[in-house]
Symmetry: C2
Subunit: 588 residues, 2 copies
């Protein structure tokens, strides 16, 4: 690796890089983006908080201070940090395991502790420069996990659309509970929820063309279409307020509401985010550390991939280890100001980017907008039906579900398919934590399994070149007394013996053999176990009157073999290229 470039101190406080050049143009872009994102975030925050099982104001709090902190410390210029769907689901699962009937205050306490713990873990990972650990969550595992989460989230919201009560963290539990409660469905709530869902789906696809036919420019049409959820919220809120569906004993409560009332958001306290300090409860923290770790890793992976995708579009870069610090500080802020675990969200960041955000200041303005909303707008949301929020969640997460990946990985590589399928199945059947652990374990085990059975090829010379390839795939030239064998894997304890067996087999089939040349171009490491195997091979070949040579040994491997002293005992030679080996052994 080349030496690390010098890191200026502004790398630790990335806002220094953009704050100095801040001008009117950036202000205009950021201001417009902040307005659009604020309008989108108000319902989204409420919806994700409902998904996490927390009071609605918590979602607003979690969208303010964490976003401010990220704006100061983050390296992405457009990432918007706050509550997201998958992390909300993981929060619900983590707190749900503590006990089915936790009082609301204790539930919130646990969410605060979860955010703080997860923030501290991210900070620690950042300080230890462990950003690379996120690489162990492979694409197939993330893909299976996100699809399964989308299905679980959709199922968890069906109860709000149906107007029933139902619990459960896994697919069988949810389906069972929904099935039992189905007779209590409120036809009116279902009608309202289904209409909202249909409208929101239409807005995604059909609103923009319609608005353009009405004379708007494509960009304006796009922005106006983003306000679709606001329309749905306004209309359904007004309906509830006008007809009093939320009030016990209203005229619709017989058949249309199955004798009950329509669930609404209700009272949201007005005011600044509170300063909170998670309870010092060792038992609580102990039972939360594992979910906090998963939330940290998943949140980090989601955030970094969104950030990288958007940065690449404008030829910018993000720094994973600094992102760990920024996300860690954001989560600590969430835990200390009444929020719950947050990360960089896909939809809000894309909207921010598309609306023209230039710098993280857009995030600060968004936080300001949400502060105004939570000070003055919350009374207007009193009559907002929960079914409308459920519809916005379902429309947002259904796009996460991508079962086509099963087919694509099946075609590409069975091991990747297995990783997707197992992550998906275990997440659905056992829950989010089990799913992640199973996915990562299966990926690693399959990788080890593959490397323990390396591909090996007998090689010959491609005519007219100095290049040697597999005799089974290419027309090549071989000499009967020289065997060239290529092993396509580093030699380590799990596969060392395989090479011994293969060489024994090849030698037994070739009575005229005098030299075995191991082509080491694909051997990137030789550990102590493999060295013993190589010694054993050399020893046996020597006893059988053959010589054992190596060719194209890489620098790092050569260094190590030389240190071991084995090369001086080797019966044959080490050649720089396989071609030189074959030439030198031609008449020996």
């Amino acid at each position: 690796m080349p030496p690390m470039p010098h890191r200026p101190w502004t790398d630790r406080l990335p806002f220094m890089n953009w704050a100095r050049g801040y001008n009117r143009e950036a202000l205009a872009g950021d201001g417009m983006a902040a307005f659009i994102v604020t309008v989108m975030l108000i319902p989204q925050s409420l919806a994700y908080t409902m998904l996490a099982g927390l009071p609605p104001e918590v979602g607003l709090y979690a969208s303010m201070t964490p976003a401010l902190v990220y704006a100061l410390l983050g390296t992405s210029r457009v990432l918007a940090v706050g509550p997201v769907a998958v992390v909300s689901l993981m929060t619900a699962a983590a707190i749900g395991q503590l006990g089915a009937a936790l009082p609301p205050a204790a539930y919130w306490q646990a969410a605060l502790a979860l955010a703080l713990l997860s923030g501290l873990m991210l900070l620690a990972m950042g300080a230890l420069r462990l950003g690379f650990l996120a690489n162990f969550l492979s694409h197939p595992v993330i893909s299976g996990f996100v699809s399964a989460s989308g299905i679980l989230i959709t199922l968890s919201q069906l109860k709000h659309l149906l107007g029933i009560r139902s619990e459960g963290n896994t697919l069988p539990e949810m389906v069972h509970a929904l099935w039992l409660q189905l007779p209590q469905t409120q036809p009116l709530t279902l009608a309202l929820g289904a209409a909202t869902t249909g409208f929101l789906f239409w807005v995604r696809k059909g609103a923009k063309p319609l608005l353009m036919r009405l004379g708007l420019t494509p960009k304006t049409a796009d922005m106006v279409a983003k306000a679709g959820p606001v329309v749905a919220i306004a209309v359904t809120t007004v309906l509830v307020w006008r007809f009093g569906w939320h009030a016990p004993g209203n005229t619709w409560s017989g058949f249309w509401l199955s004798g009950g009332t329509m669930k609404i958001v209700g009272h949201i306290p007005q005011g600044l985010p509170p300063l909170t300090w998670p309870e010092w409860n060792l038992a609580l923290w102990k039972s939360l550390w594992a979910p906090a770790l998963m939330i940290s890793v998943v949140g980090f992976v989601e955030s970094v991939s969104v950030g990288q995708t958007l940065a690449a579009k404008r030829r910018q870069r993000i720094t994973p280890n600094q992102e760990l610090l920024a996300l860690g500080a954001s989560n600590v802020a969430a835990g200390l100001t009444g929020g719950y675990p947050v990360t960089g969200g896909f939809s809000r960041s894309v909207v921010n980017f598309d609306a023209g955000a230039q710098t993280p200041a857009a995030g600060m303005y968004t936080a300001g907008g949400l502060l105004l909303a939570s000070l003055y707008l919350t009374p207007a949301l009193y009559f907002l039906p929960q079914a409308t929020l459920a519809a916005t969640i379902i429309v947002a997460v259904i796009s996460l579900v991508d079962l086509g990946v099963l087919k694509r990985t099946w075609v590409y590589a069975k091991a990747d398919f297995a990783a997707v399928a197992i992550t998906l199945a275990v997440t659905l059947l056992d829950g989010v934590e089990g799913g992640l652990v199973a996915g990562v374990s299966v990926s690693l085990l399959l990788y080890l399994w593959r490397t323990s059975r390396p591909h090996m090829a007998v090689v010959g010379r491609v005519p007219g070149t100095e290049h040697f390839r597999n005799v089974l795939r290419h027309t090549v030239e071989c000499q009967p007394h020289v065997l060239g064998l290529r092993v396509d894997e580093s030699l380590y304890f799990a596969n060392a013996r395989t090479l011994e067996d293969r060489i024994n087999l090849e030698v037994a089939q070739r009575p005229e053999l005098r030299h075995v040349v191991l082509l080491c171009s694909a051997i990137n490491d030789v550990d102590a176990s493999a060295l013993e195997s190589l010694e054993a091979i050399d020893h046996r070949l020597k006893e059988a009157g053959l010589r054992f040579h190596l060719s194209e040994v890489k620098g790092p491997v050569m260094d190590r073999l030389q240190r071991s002293g084995w090369l001086s005992r080797l019966s044959g030679q080490v050649f720089l290229t396989h071609h030189q080996a074959v030439q030198a052994l031609e008449n020996r």
Copy 2:
């Protein structure tokens, strides 16, 4: 891999291969070897049974039927199956965990269950052809484990040498218990034990030269020296019998025996091995499955490495999967005939080999010899002091302790050193099971860690050849507009992003660059995550006006890339050799 050769049915019953050609010469060799091994095994069986904490006759039983069964099913011609030191220690630890003060009958029951379980596991592994799993126990882990076991076994025997009582499964427990009991040391027992130990060490080195000076041939001298333990047993047994040290109130019991008596082997029931059926106790079996699995794996690895070493000396081969079946059946036999877990032992197999055993019939004769001993000889062993047995164990296992491996692996590779050191330390401090689990886990994690940070090299042409090597290590020729980069690892989820970062860095440093050629000779696999990374790299290079090419892609990788359809979207080309790539791009 070439197609599997046809397996004749005699492979399942390997004795068919040697029984038909059995002749007088083989009978002579086998008979002589059996006599010598029997003489050696009588004290060894008693000693290992004492180490396992079982009644002495169990060791004799475990040396009979298992050896017979192995003779019929095993593929090694000279392996001797029976109780061995490390497995006896593991048995003691496994049963010890069940409860400190188990009654002797329950203790034996547990040993039978352990043998049966371990046998069934080996049979299952054999049926599923899982012999390769043993490869995951790397040499450093085995080495650390065996050394630590040697230390633990030696410590566990010190109490017999000192004539005190002491318990414990780990180094700190044992040292603590020995320290507390030290004042109760019996000077006479210590003198007898120390003298026996000294004599046995001398027999190993000094007896053969002395016997040769007395006129024996080297081979005879070697064989007679093997009888050293028999001499020690005879002498110490006669001493105890003559002076009555074992009897309460004997004249030596004051100072010399610290007011007690010398521990002797005592009554060993005469007779055939009993038919036993391990109790159907679900709780017992549940708590024994994990130790049974470890015993199976360790026993298998020990047996196979002894078998391979000896087979190679006579140009024979052993078949690991058939060995699993043979060892499995042997352990089942041990569980059904009053024994405890067994495996192929190093010392007895080497003696069998050196004494001239030709076929597994030698093992059958040995079983017969032991049967005669257990029918007629056991009364003669009544006065045998336990200190003598402890001395034979210590002399046998002290050679297992090889701390030099720490230094050798430190020089060779730090990862291997870490595996040895952690296995050694955890085995000593936490016990045999924790040590094995820690060792295997650390080895696998270090392997994953290494592969997640692959070595990469910018390559140039070695002048006068078609061969490309690292620019930092070799004097090579490069073109400024073509970057050749070699990654020394398969591309998979854990390292895919590293390649993206490195290419970004290299491209940023080279303004005149027009082509990037990835030399794939060391890339043995590209999983779905890595494919996405390659697509991202190609995409970014294309946007920056560069082209991305591949060279020397291996067959299996090429098949997979073609299936994915990516190659048709690639901005550059795939070249058979890197040399062709550089020639073709010279003027582009």
